[in-house]
């Protein structure tokens, strides 16, 4: 019964810890700006592009995925490097409730990039941010962070035994940007991509945020975020159970 409290507390602690590094914030906030700029310039130069606000929102969610891809896969690696992995594993709480707050906090750092991309768009490209349904938007953002964070949890759990975890998950940055409809609508991509996109949190988070800002039905997208959050959680539990046993057998918990 104390698990929700453990989760929330863990999220706050890790969000605080990650935020305490100005370097982390800068990377989270600035990297997406590069792609936001490119998107704005390309959309402006093209002859039939979606609106710049569309691009702005897309770039914002790209930032959330960016921090997740860069850090979540390597989340375990980082704890290991800090010498903390053993302490986290040896705690009596189930490991999934120890790891989930970390990956969700990582996704949470993405809010700094939401702020920076919207501000950047406003200042340099004159993009006015009008949100049609502010209440639903305020709900869509944490829903997106949670769902993407849980996807990060699946990543972290699957890669727990692999030294190259970090590099692998970083390699997922572009692919997920591409296929989850953040800037490129799913209709432009080949049909077989759509089912894959539907299984990924950023697709629905993006849809929820976009519809809340520009108009459209938000609730189905929010519902899908919730469904995926639960599904990812279950997948992570299974993965972690298997891999924790394997780690105890192969003694890779304290590799530096």
């Amino acid at each position: 019964m104390r698990y929700p409290k453990l989760f929330w507390h863990g999220f706050v602690v890790h969000f605080k810890e990650l935020s305490a590094s100005p370097f982390q914030i800068m990377t989270a906030a600035i990297w997406p700006l590069v792609f936001a700029t490119l998107a704005y310039l390309m959309f402006r130069a093209g002859s039939g592009a979606p609106s710049l606000l569309y691009a702005s929102l897309g770039a914002a969610v790209m930032g959330i995925w960016s921090t997740t891809a860069t850090s979540a896969g390597g989340a375990i690696q980082r704890q290991r490097w800090l010498g903390l992995l053993e302490l986290l594993v040896v705690a009596p709480a189930p490991f999934v409730f120890v790891l989930a707050p970390i990956t969700v906090a990582i996704a949470g750092i993405g809010v700094y990039s939401i702020a920076s991309t919207l501000l950047w768009g406003r200042l340099l490209f004159g993009i006015d941010v009008h949100i049609a349904s502010p209440g639903l938007f305020a709900l869509a953002v944490p829903a997106t962070v949670l769902a993407v964070g849980m996807l990060g949890l699946v990543l972290a759990s699957a890669l727990i035994l692999y030294r190259a975890a970090s590099a692998f998950s970083q390699g997922l940055e572009f692919p997920v940007w591409l296929i989850t409809g953040l800037l490129v609508p799913l209709s432009v991509l080949p049909g077989w991509v759509t089912p894959i996109a539907w299984a990924l949190a950023p697709t629905w988070g993006m849809r929820a945020m976009r519809h809340a800002a520009l108009g459209g039905s938000v609730l189905p997208a929010l519902a899908m975020c919730a469904v995926l959050t639960v599904a990812y959680g279950l997948a992570a539990v299974l993965l972690l159970r298997y891999f924790e046993q394997a780690a105890r057998r192969r003694a890779t918990l304290s590799l530096t």
Binding site: A45, G46, Q170, E173, V188
Partner: protein, 267 residues
């Protein structure tokens, strides 16, 4: 150069290069190499090509060329930066700079495997473009594109020396290298036509590496002859040399300063 000098030069060039390459990359398994140097550039291309389609901007072919050259060049940029930084991290920088060995040979020797990496990357991206996008260059164009990639890599290597030198001084090569990569990605006409950039940005692009090579490559893909673009390629070479000289000078100055202030090997 005397015969003995040439032999020493070549030995340092090849062996020194190979050893340092292995040392730097000994921790990289194929599982890291393939994603970082091949898969990511491929997805970068797809991302921008589809973005171009979304915006109804230019053509697939246009994006393939820009991104292939850029991806290949980035291997050179980072390779150079890491060669400089890597030496520092493994505490060998001072011993390397202190040897009487020809320093140019030493650093250029590291540039060779990096160039090979770049060629492989560009090939991969071109093939990906051919198979997955609307890019069908005639066979005759292929060697010309290869030439352009070499020129662009050379040019960016020069910038890499400056980047590495500055990064060394500021004690954070990866951040500086990433920053430079971002600038090149935005300014050099990789994914945004120079004509569609604000005037000051396209002006800056003219003095950056890669810009002219990419322009040349696109014209070659459209059927132009090497002769008609050779001025672009030479301009890029010149830019590369200029940045290389600046970088080399900075390195020597920082090394001198480092000796003075004992900061060469500080992590």
């Amino acid at each position: 150069m005397t015969r003995a000098g040439v032999t020493t030069f070549s030995r340092i060039f090849f062996i020194g290069g190979a050893i340092s390459f292995r040392a730097l990359f000994s921790w990289i398994t194929p599982w890291v190499y393939i994603p970082t140097l091949l898969i990511t550039p491929m997805f970068q291309l797809l991302f921008f090509a589809y973005l171009g389609r979304t915006a109804h901007l230019r053509s697939d072919s246009w994006f393939v060329i820009g991104n292939a050259v850029q991806s290949a060049s980035m291997a050179s940029l980072f390779g150079m930066g890491f060669a400089i930084d890597g030496e520092r991290w493994s505490q060998t920088l001072s011993s390397v700079l202190a040897t009487p060995a020809n320093r140019a040979a030493l650093f250029l020797g590291r540039a060779l495997p990096v160039l090979l990496n770049s060629m492989v990357t560009s090939l991969f991206v071109f093939v990906a473009g051919r198979l997955l996008l609307d890019f069908h260059p005639p066979l005759a164009v292929v060697p010309k594109l290869a030439l352009v990639v070499v020129v662009a890599c050379f040019s960016v290597t020069g910038l890499g020396m400056t980047t590495g030198a500055v990064g060394l001084r500021l004690r954070d090569v990866p951040i500086i290298a990433n920053l430079v990569m971002a600038i090149l990605l935005v300014f050099c006409g990789v994914n945004v036509p120079l004509d569609d950039l604000p005037r000051w940005m396209s002006a800056v692009a003219q003095v950056l590496p890669m810009t002219h090579s990419i322009g040349a490559a696109r014209r070659l893909a459209d059927g132009a002859s090497i002769g008609s673009v050779d001025h672009l390629l030479l301009t890029d070479v010149a830019i590369g040399i200029a940045f290389g000289i600046v970088g080399f000078a900075l390195l020597r100055w920082f090394e001198h300063e480092g000796r003075r202030l004992a900061t060469l090997d500080r992590a």
